[in-house]
Assembly symmetry: C2
Homo-oligomer: 739 residues x 2
């Protein structure tokens, strides 16, 4: 084995050294290299398949393994999501009481089992006991109220404490929504363990706890992280995927699962082939179906909120819709600014040292303030459902307590005058709006799993519903004015407050996340018709424009920047006139670029270098570029050669040339052409930076060399570009932390 060392090193493609071609933690992968590797593999299998039936079978199984993997990912992610749904539902209800038939039933299931209740009274069934009833024996009176209140706070504290403790102890990566990190990982960054099994287990458990604790957070974002963990773990079953970083990322694009099925059509990244899109769509669908069949008490639909409106909207209503868009945009911009300021404070001051106390204080505050108001006491998704729904005749909700005329079933009678119940509801909603807006800012970013979709949508839905009811009353009182006369006849309902709630939710979600088109498509799926796409478009476009006026970043991009991840935003255009020569290293007055020459350097000289990668040139005088080699690969190879190959000492020559005479009296040379990248990317020094940024973005480069008239001049890495962009935007260039 030791004897034929040199010949082994000459053709390492057949059996590459372990470690060569891998990456360190917190580094960026080279997409071109990874893709190339995969193509080589594919080519080899295709060629072999012509030789034997066995190899042909292997080729076929290889081709289908992608689909099989996606099926498994879909099944697993759907199952986990279903489990989270059921558990969170049960534990949320547990804060209010317990089922006598069995503590493992949630409220709805418990009451559904006891057949005595009618449709109207489903909320109150004898089997379900509130904590006050269990403890004091009665559910009436101030004392019972206080007992229930206390139990609510008690459970909220227990759940949130467990959540933060588990995250701290076992999987620090399980906190937050995970979407900023996943965006960065998908763009090629490496964070070991971020999509691992511990993160999956702990995130699943703590997500249930965090949601149940009543904190103002949603579970959609973390579910995406959970699904990505499933994808990454299942990758290990298939050799094709476990060895290739870019292939694994393709699988992790199941990213937009569940709620995000349709986002998948839009989150267009340059690195991924179209096939990936189609596969992730398939996986998301499988997951949605799995979820549906697991959760028999959930709604039997594949969308989050399903509403049907029966009244068309009128052109004049565009004015309030655009108002909602402005509100959404302002709220989005304000939220991002406030949340980032708060998170930065947490990072830089002593506040960050007490995450457990922080979570407990916020949970306490949330529980104390939320309980008295029925709209904040219910969970976020219940609230949104209620706000989206339009009132029908039989609706017992407070939001639908209009003054009823004598003969309520007669269609000609007008029922849209607000009653006292509705007035109370309006006050409660207004308070809920203020509360949700405040508490969400300090909740998002704490050390528990937390999503942002539901809280943002809730804020928008409340604002929209308020405006909708306002418009309705305005129309009622001015039925004969010029504006309302044509379309608000006495017979028909002319304004649907539910539609306003939906438009408001879309506007706020758009303001916070800035994913306008996608959003419209999602929301339009929700309504199940193209009829309401114009209101949604008007509101989300306004919201985006307004929010963009205060800063172009969405909340996820802002968090990426806060954490200093190396992420090249695909949307942002580079609009400055700098050239490659202005960005490259070495700067004008710095020492020359560290290069290796293709012959004449010794092992000792090579080992004593410091940078993470080196261009290889013909000679120091000509500076003509031959290739590029990574320090990590260099060191691994030298190390290996010292162990296996006789006579490799510090004085041995390192050769990157194809053929070189080995001098008779010198130690045997070390040939390393095989680990050199023979096709490094180059641009000329006069290349405008906008083109360079485009190249980095579209090809997924890690570094690029700069030449002038054919001579090597410098190097530009992804980090250099991000630093330059930060500088151009008057931000601190040192905020970019990783490679």
């Amino acid at each position: 084995m030791n004897g034929n060392g040199p010949s082994r090193l000459v053709d390492p493609l057949e059996d590459p050294l372990p470690g060569v071609g891998t990456y360190e933690d917190f580094n960026t992968i080279d997409w071109v290299r990874e893709k190339s590797k995969d193509r080589d593999r594919h080519r080899e299998i295709t060629n072999k398949s012509r030789q034997s039936t066995m190899a042909l079978l292997r080729r076929i199984s290889d081709a289908f393994s992608g689909w099989l993997l996606m099926l498994l990912v879909g099944l697993m992610a759907g199952a986990v999501a279903g489990g989270i749904d059921i558990s969170a539902h049960w534990m949320t209800d547990m804060k209010g009481g317990v089922c006598l038939q069995g503590f493992w039933f949630n409220h709805e299931h418990c009451c559904w089992l006891s057949n005595e209740t009618t449709f109207q009274e489903r909320d109150r069934c004898p089997q379900w006991k509130s904590w006050a009833e269990l403890i004091t024996g009665t559910s009436e009176g101030a004392f019972a109220y206080v007992v229930n209140y206390m139990m609510y706070i008690f459970w909220a504290l227990i759940f949130s404490f467990l959540a933060v403790i588990l995250v701290r102890a076992f999987a620090p990566y399980a906190c937050g929504s995970g979407i900023p990190e996943i965006k960065t990982i998908l763009s090629g960054f490496i964070i070991r363990g971020y999509l691992g099994k511990w993160t999956l287990i702990i995130k699943t458990i703590t997500l249930v706890l965090a949601v149940s604790s009543g904190l103002s957070l949603g579970k959609e974002g973390p579910l995406v992280h959970v699904a990505c963990c499933c994808a990454n773990i299942l990758c290990h079953l298939f050799t094709k995927y476990c060895k290739n970083e870019s292939k694994r990322r393709e699988v992790s694009r199941v990213y937009f699962l569940y709620l995000c099925v349709h986002l998948s059509l839009l989150q267009v990244s340059y690195y991924f082939p179209l096939k990936t899109l189609w596969r992730s769509f398939f996986a998301a669908l499988v997951a949605a179906f799995t979820l549906r069949s697991i959760n028999p008490f959930g709604n039997s639909r594949l969308v989050l909120f399903y509403v049907e409106f029966h009244t068309p909207w009128h052109l004049i209503e565009l004015a309030p819709f655009i108002l909602l868009g402005i509100f959404g945009g302002l709220w989005g911009a304000l939220f991002i600014k406030a949340n980032i300021a708060w998170c930065r404070k947490r990072k830089t001051t002593r506040l960050g040292h007490y995450p457990i106390i922080e979570v407990l204080v916020v949970a306490m505050l949330t529980a104390v303030l939320a309980y008295p108001n029925s709209y904040t006491r219910m969970s976020g998704s219940e609230l949104i459902s209620e706000l989206f729904n339009d009132c029908s005749m039989l609706d017992s909700s407070q939001l639908c307590s209009y003054k009823q005329q004598a003969n309520m079933s007669e269609p000609g009678v007008d029922n849209s005058l607000a009653g006292p119940g509705l007035h109370t509801a309006l006050w409660q909603l207004a308070l809920a709006l203020v509360f949700k807006m405040m508490i969400t800012v300090i909740t998002f970013g704490m050390k528990v799993p937390s999503g942002l979709f539901i809280p943002s949508m809730a804020v928008g839905a409340i604002a929209g519903r308020l405006l909708g009811i306002g418009m309705e009353q305005l129309a009622h009182h001015n039925r004969d004015s010029v504006i309302f006369k044509g379309w608000c006849s006495a017979e028909a309902e002319c304004i649907m407050p539910g539609l306003y709630a939906m438009v408001g939710a879309a506007a706020c979600l758009g303001g916070v996340t800035r994913m306008t088109v996608s959003l419209v498509v999602i929301m339009f799926e929700l309504t199940g018709g193209l009829e309401y796409i114009v209101p949604l478009m008007a509101a989300t476009m306004t919201s985006k424009w307004v929010a963009d006026a205060f800063g172009r970043e969405g909340i996820y991009e802002a968090h990426i920047r806060l954490n200093g991840y190396p992420f090249l935003e695909p949307k942002e255009e580079f609009e400055h006139s700098s050239l490659a020569v202005d960005v490259m290293r070495p700067r004008r007055n710095d020492p020359a670029l560290a290069v290796l020459t293709q012959e004449g350097m010794t092992v000792g000289e090579v080992e004593s270098t410091h940078y993470s990668g080196f261009p290889v040139v013909v000679s120091s005088e000509s500076q003509r570029l031959v290739g590029f080699v990574l320090r990590r690969d260099l060191l691994i190879s030298i190390d290996n050669a010292r162990k296996r190959q006789d006579g490799i000492v510090s004085a041995s020559q390192v050769l990157f040339t194809e053929h070189a005479p080995s001098l008779p009296d010198a130690p045997p040379p070390l040939r390393l052409r095989c680990i050199m990248d023979l096709s490094p990317f180059t641009v000329t020094d006069h290349t405008p930076m906008d083109i360079t940024v485009d190249i980095f973005r579209k090809l997924g480069l890690r570094q690029c060399l700069v030449t002038h008239n054919g001579r090597l001049l410098g190097i530009i890495t992804k980090k250099d570009i991000l630093k330059h962009m930060a500088q151009m935007a008057n931000r601190d260039p040192d905020s970019i932390l990783f490679n």
Copy 2:
């Protein structure tokens, strides 16, 4: 003016020479250059806007001009589409008869105006006279039938003759569907006049004529071409768009208008920013709304066919759905092969010399064979609507003539046994299937505007409906068998033949065009629910796999290749192991690459060159690359210099350097650094071709230079790559015709 000639030439950015930076017909544009130009423009406006209010206003209007343009495009395209719809409807009806109240009413409108008719008899109203009634006075009997038959053929011949004559005489580019050419144009190819006003006018008129003549063609594809013409023409209103080839292409991406609204989410091209997607979505929506408000008799929906199904599908039904997928795939592959063979024959044999006779013969054949069968006599979209619909109790269609039990309104009674009417319908449908399959092959590609969506969908819908009815009868007769027992109870309809028709249509459309995901999204829009996405996905995926086994190209790609357009398919992966050095020119034994040196060449030498572009090197010995210059720009600049600048003769030196001493006794030198591209793209000779193809595709390059150890070695153009790919696939490399 003449005196300061040289200084003018030094900074041509301020006032570029007319012609420099433009392209010749049938050439490919350089995306990087065009994008760069637009960014420069944008930067200039932004900088100026800080100086004065006027300039700020100009900046704002510049920013909004994109949206305004899209609004106008939407309005215009929608209006044209509406006009085409109305005219085609009227003229199609005219083949059958005329309205007495006014010849300009179509059948439906005519009968709608005469209030006497009931719902059942709307087809027969006294105001509408068939030609037999007008000429012979009676609508009964064999003679009247023959008269109607003859008039039908007569009008078909008149319409098709007019269509082909108009296309031949005024706008040869108006024929075909236009989608292959538009795909190529959007990828950067230049065909002058293809999106011009004459093409628009003639295509609009001849499309109406072609559709009305009863030929087996649809209008969706040509409508896309018409919309692109609108976009291109309206571009001239805005300076931002009329000067920049890549900006104009952005606008023309309204490409997928109307039917293709949702395709827009998927036809992801690398060159276009995300903003374009969102804008074209907006334009498509405007167009759809315009179309709807123009065409009051059309359906008031935004999708082509709207159907609602009320019965869920059963897992066992996946088997027939997959069968439909196999049928769709086979038919798609067969259709492409047959159609391309026929089109190649037309191109290479004498058949191509008589396009008018060809159209007349096919129109005659179509009319003669189509009239006797009611399913081929009706238009393609009517046929599809009828096949998609499920039978309700009141349906008078032949497809719904089931044997009715005594008490038909009672829900418990089974009505799914086929009656004699249905048996006739089955025979007619089977004949229609064979006829449509045959005639579409020879129709698509004739010198009239012709789309393929409707004919493909019709074939699939017929096949699907036939299979659906077959399944229904099978279920009826085997109600108690193991398979059907669980879900086909006697009370409910268990199989919906309409759903089968829809699945079949999706499978065939997928087999022919290969746009699977997009297709599922469209079709799923049609049904308005996620419930039926699984059958559609199963069928279209099967169809794609089956069709791909016979050849990976869709019909549009096949036509692009047939015509030799330079189009780099974004889907196709390059899977061979060749290197850049194998593809570049000059080949191994060819003479060296023609280069210019940066100094030392004379005007005369430069003018006597032949290639369309030249690398500029430091010196012939070093071969170190400085830049790249296009022959067209060179000649224009020299020409201009001879006219304006004194002393430029053939012996004058051409200088590409920044500073060079002008020799005292020589004629003044011509400085041309300003027209040189200082940042040409380079790859090394060892770069694998798969990476090179990726670079060309993602950056939209026109050419790329090849270096070895810093010395210039050769050049690779888009045409070289396409030729190489053709060679690798064992096709004729000379089939690539253009640059």
